[in-house]
Subunit: 401 residues, 2 copies
């Protein structure tokens, strides 16, 4: 596997665009378009929030046949809590895009992100779609990555080339989202592309598996959005033998590549979490089972007291013990070891006699890695999060002003 | 029911003390003692955190017979994650107190609050206990309320006189805790006193019921402590007919008084939450059942995005819809109404056409009251929390320095 440039447009058959249509502040790009040169195999994973935005409902509908040819995205307005007008506007985004591209509206997927509860400015969206179609480019991945941002401080984009069988296959991805990020579809929006030949059912299986181990293990602030969406489009331009079942070497190779792309995007999202100064990896080892491992890791990764301690470079391990204790995971407190990087802070549930200066120095490492050895079983997990700083408050207190 | 002065020592048969023993910063009181003039009926509710501090284990043991005569408390050190030495120290606190008072050690309950993972400075504790016993006073409630504080900015104390039958009965209470406060024993420490005649089993039933509707519906930061403790001591000095079953008018009258005292303490705790600028009441109406009502209220009360919006006086109701949507409660998003005080922001799940200036002005009310009408059933609930401000980060980033 090797990393390559180009993001989503590193993949053959993909063109993209990103531009300013006037929804967000002057000059900020706010409309993105991703298009395949022919109907592509497609799969998606969406928010579990029962207050579901209109574009998510549309995507679920349009993905029914496992095929798509375009994704139109706006930032600055989430088109959530917008009722029938919002649903009609989401459909209109698909129709306008389809008309401009000369394809069926059912082949268009739609995403929106931004403020909840306001109707989309459809005149701006409409002219944005026209410009997007006319500026589509096989080098437009970077523009699209920028146009999907809201409070993100920089675009997130990754691409790799892997071998499936002996055939090169590419996978690219972009993502956005730095607040309202938590369990069960952590990032708000991520779009993945590949030239792999793979059928729809297997593509969906691969996406489900990888999302469970990446986006669903990312948490910034415990809040889950109304619009969370991960989509993947497979153009089939590569020469690999079509992957038609969710097992075997080819499937595993594809999942490995997808896992790498999504993990890199997840790390970028965590590092750019609202107000974040640090990427934090929380590793739980030797849990009784996956459920316990995730409970313990999540309790630490979501604890405001742990996150403020990390911000302050304070090896306040008592807060880590508190967090795993409240998690519901089964373990003996006096069997637990806790490490900062490879330095042991806690031995058998008590102070390991560590040196405060040495511990403080380890907070400068990137990522800050907290490992909790529960010694209760043989299952491990890694979660990604960030610290809580003054800027988290500033960003979210000022969001609409 | 009438509020009276004196806090826990407003109750006949109660003496208390609070003093500086040198565990915390110079001059801050850090040892509290509450004593009854004879063995009292006693009940307790404790943290569900599986990393349980030594004094909590001791209290569970000593409360086995429903009787206690003294509570010794230190702040500045939680005696948690301290292993066998910690357990021996907790026992030693009970023994030292019992010796000084000339009573059985089994009649002494112990609490600790503060930093996790350090052994208690037993020399300071020992001299603190001696001074506490020698300064016990029937007007010492205020000193005790002060001595149990950690990051609290002021002591919390309440007392009422109620009628049980036609007989006056008094209930007093103190509480501390402004961070690490969340579900299932919200406050870290609260001590309640009453002169009611009530047997141990009924006292425990009343305490369980009231804690479920007060302390367990308080949340500051989702974190649950290793040391959470609520204790009640009933001296039996009042003339009411002994309450011996958990039903009937006398029991209800007692619960009503206890509920008032605990609710007032909970509001004080929320208002003094770390960095809080506002007390926030989250009221859910017309939920399908109690579980759904609590899920929805908790999701709003614990959402960092809602809490920062409240700090910023921003009626960003989309975050409230997001929070109830992620809660798991059953409802139709397009049936939901949301109010700030009595002013409707959301009608049928969408913008009610409210005025931003009017909404902003309502954030100056105390408490800030957010009401969510789910229109899904007939159960309601009230939760208490506070906003998230810059100072939450400052306090928790600097806690150990």
């Amino acid at each position: 596997m090797k990393q390559i440039d180009g993001g989503i447009t590193a993949v053959a058959g993909i063109r993209a665009a990103g531009l300013h249509a006037g929804i967000k502040a002057p000059d900020a790009k706010d409309v993105a378009l991703i298009v395949t040169d022919a109907p592509a195999t497609a799969a998606g994973v969406f928010t579990k929030n029962s207050v579901t935005a209109a574009p998510v409902l549309l995507c679920r509908d349009h993905l029914g046949d496992g095929t798509a040819q375009a994704v139109i995205v706006n930032s600055g307005n989430a088109n959530a809590c917008t009722g029938e007008v919002g649903m009609a506007n989401a459909r209109r985004m698909a129709t306008l895009t389809a008309e401009q591209l000369g394809i069926d509206a059912n082949l268009v997927l739609v995403s929106s992100t931004g403020v909840i509860g306001q109707q989309l400015p459809m005149d701006k969206i409409e002219s944005g779609i026209q410009t997007a179609v006319s500026t589509l480019s096989s080098e437009g991945g970077a523009d699209a990555a920028e146009a999907i941002m809201t409070t993100d401080t920089h675009p997130k984009s990754v691409a790799v080339e892997i071998e499936v069988g002996d055939t090169p296959v590419r996978i690219g991805g972009i993502a956005k989202g730095s607040g309202m990020i938590a369990p069960n579809m952590a990032t708000m929006l991520s779009y993945l592309t590949t030239d792999a030949r793979i059928n729809a059912e297997t593509l969906q299986a691969a996406l489900n598996r990888v999302v469970d181990d990446t986006y669903n293990l990312l948490t910034v602030d415990t809040d889950r959005s109304t619009n969370d969406t991960v989509l993947i489009l497979a153009t089939g331009h590569a020469d690999n033998a079509e992957i038609v079942t969710a097992n075997g070497d080819d499937y595993e190779a594809f999942c490995e590549g997808l896992q790498f792309v999504c993990t890199e995007l997840v790390k970028m999202l965590a590092r750019d979490g609202e107000g974040a100064t640090k990427l934090v990896e929380v590793i739980v080892k030797h849990a009784k089972n996956r459920d316990d491992a995730e409970k313990a890791a999540r309790a630490v990764a979501e604890s405001p007291l742990v996150k403020t301690a990390v911000f302050a470079n304070d090896a306040n391990w008592g807060r880590i013990m508190m967090a795993i204790g409240k998690s519901g995971a089964e373990f003996d407190p006096y069997q637990v070891d806790v490490y900062l990087a490879d330095y042991r802070l806690v031995k058998n549930g008590m102070d390991a006699g560590y040196d405060e200066d040495e511990a403080t120095a380890l907070f400068a490492q990137d990522p800050v890695r907290i490992t909790i050895d529960l010694r209760a079983g043989d299952t491990g997990i890694t979660m990604w999060t960030c610290d809580y700083s003054y800027d988290y408050i500033r960003i979210n207190a000022d969001y609409r002003t």
